[in-house]
Amino acid sequence: MFQWSDEQEMVRQAVRDFVDREIRPHRDELEFGDLPPYDLLRKLFATFGMDAMQRESFKRRIERERAVEAGESVEAQDAEAGRGGSADAIAFTMIPIIELCRVCPGMVTAMGVSMGLTASAIMSKGTIAQKERWALDLLTMEKVGSWAITEPNSGSDAFGAMTSTARIDGDEFVLNGSKTFITNGPHADTIVFICKLDEGNPPEERRIVQFVLDAGMDGLEQSKPLRKMGIHSSPTGQLFLTDVRVGADRLLGESLDAYSGKSGKDASKATFSMERAGVAAMALGIVDRCLELSLDYARDRVQFGQPIGQFQLIQLKLATMEVARINLQNLVFRHIEMTAAGVPMSYAEASAAKLYAARAATEVALEAVQLFGGNGYMAEYEVEQLARDAKVLQIYAGTDEIQISAVARSLLAQG
């Protein structure tokens, strides 16, 4: 794949029209006010039939899993399902990410955490009953989801310093702990809570387990949105759990056997890989918009008697932005191709891609601010918002430093 197909291009155009008409007019309320993004996201899903597509693929997946459980042969279905899904299906998830990020990267964060991270955690680790109970509504954006691993004292070292616990009490578990920087936390209907199983053993030996919580449960408190630098269209908050009692039906997998050895950590790691691919598409949207705005400005803004685009130092900025755009687009195409071929991206490659994408987006957006001069620093000119938004890509889903060590460690481990 080296370019979008005709159909993918049509989808892109249609989504861009929708974003320009339905979302851009709300930019001020979303990015400088308190408008939550969920209703607009639902409108996007309904308009393009994305909710119906999610329902259909969910149904197929559940049918297949039932067949497997019943011991039926599913080879024919596997062949038909064509490895990891069609390139179109994957492109149709990437395109809205790119197009939304041209206006509100925060909306993609809110959407990605809910239908991506939270739903995926349930889809990869949950039982069929749990998937039906929680995942489908998240995949269609009907409900809002949060995926909670980070704690005040445990971020990059997510598992090592984790203090949230689940204690076994008869048939039940008692959950305690606090989580912070949780995307959608203030509005979440469904929360995947990651903690350590306290069996009286030392913390470093405890198993990592995952539970599903519903808003309003006794002992669960969801904070108001935290004030932050950017992506205001993505509400971020804290979660406090005080003796939240849950049955095994809320333990993902419904059995502790599913969490033996390192499998708890591996499940979370698989989620990281997926998250990192989404970041390349987000960065592409940000860079694409910054370049478009910068080009117009470079042509129109006259100083010293000529458009600033005539100055070589400005040309360097434009060319650097274009290089980033091409690289990011190629990363997105590669992700689509690999997923369609059923070849999973290695953890190290996903980390390398995420590192590059996050840095490129931040650098390009800051250069766009520079190119716009004083106007660049003003909210009206958009690049100011995109620059604040881009920065988060270097922090969440694993900081740049963590990606760097993942890449380097993988290199050193070879041969």
């Binding site: 005709d6 159909e7 049509m10 989808v11 249609a14 029209d17 929708f18 308009t47 393009f48 039939g49 994305m50 119906a52 597509m53 179109d88 149709f92």
Partner: protein
């Protein structure tokens, strides 16, 4: 209920257009898109078929270079199939020839209950093709529809006028032109876009329509563009300084123009 919608595919109005200095006609060599004016007819047709509980929407278009992009857009919105007339011989066709070609193409679609068009295209905007199609097909013609409701063999049309609208009843089949902006054209769903790829598109030539190349194009045109000139630049307006009596002067100015 089966509805035919005539949809024109035009150069993207967002790109700067160009005239061929030789023929003085619009250059149509690049990619063409669905004329936005026609998206309202497509939407209305889809709604009518939905309301009728059956039938389908068929598109008819005449365009150069086998252009299908605009048709694919309307197919993605939900139209079932399309007839495309594309033929070198059509180059230079005037509005009447266009109407003849479209009328013949409509004939290939069977017996539609209703033919919809826009009131005028965005690039040619002679606003004459719909009535000519009606005459050629010997069908009644209603123009400037803001809404259409079908009951049995009759359509009730609200026909926009300067003062408001007229209620018009017309026996079907009929040709009705739809005013721009009266409905909200739907976005094509992702599924619709994928499905459009495999919807039937009947591409025909002038000969397939039983017409003779001499009847169409430059040779068939009853009109000739002899000159094209720049639109006059807008003159500077009159500035009314408000010295407390400004409103009086504005009223006098409007009265002079017979606007009030």
């Amino acid at each position: 209920m089966n509805v035919v919608v005539c949809v024109k595919q035009i150069p993207d109005p967002a790109d700067p257009g160009a005239l061929d200095p030789e023929t003085k006609t619009l250059v149509r060599s690049g990619k063409l898109i669905l004329d936005e004016s026609d998206s309202y007819g497509v939407e209305m047709a889809l709604q009518l078929v939905d309301a009728a509980g059956g039938g389908e929407v068929t598109l008819v278009s005449m365009a150069p270079n086998d252009e299908q992009s605009g048709l694919r857009t309307a197919l993605a919105m939900g139209a079932a199939k399309a007839v495309l007339v594309s033929d070198e011989a059509l180059r230079g066709s005037d509005a009447l020839t266009t109407a003849k070609v479209l009328a013949a193409a409509i004939g290939r679609t069977g017996q539609p209950d209703l033919v919809l068009t826009a009131t005028e295209s965005s690039d040619g905007y002679t606003g004459t093709v719909p009535e000519q199609i009606a005459e050629l097909l010997s069908l009644p013609s209603v123009t400037f529809a803001k809404s259409i409701a079908v009951d049995g063999g009759t359509a009730s049309v609200q026909r926009q006028t300067e003062a408001g609208y007229d209620d018009v009843q017309v026996p079907l089949p009929a040709v009705v032109s739809v005013t721009a902006g009266v409905v909200e054209p739907r976005y094509p769903s992702f599924k619709g876009i994928m499905a459009a790829k495999s919807k039937p598109l009947d591409q025909v030539t002038v000969a397939d329509l039983g017409m003779d190349a001499g009847q169409v194009g430059w040779s068939g045109a009853g009109q000739e563009i002899v000159d094209v000139s720049e639109a006059e630049a807008r003159e500077a307006g009159t500035i009314v300084e408000d010295d407390g009596e400004g409103h009086q002067k504005v009223v006098e100015f409007l009265a002079e123009l017979k606007v009030i």
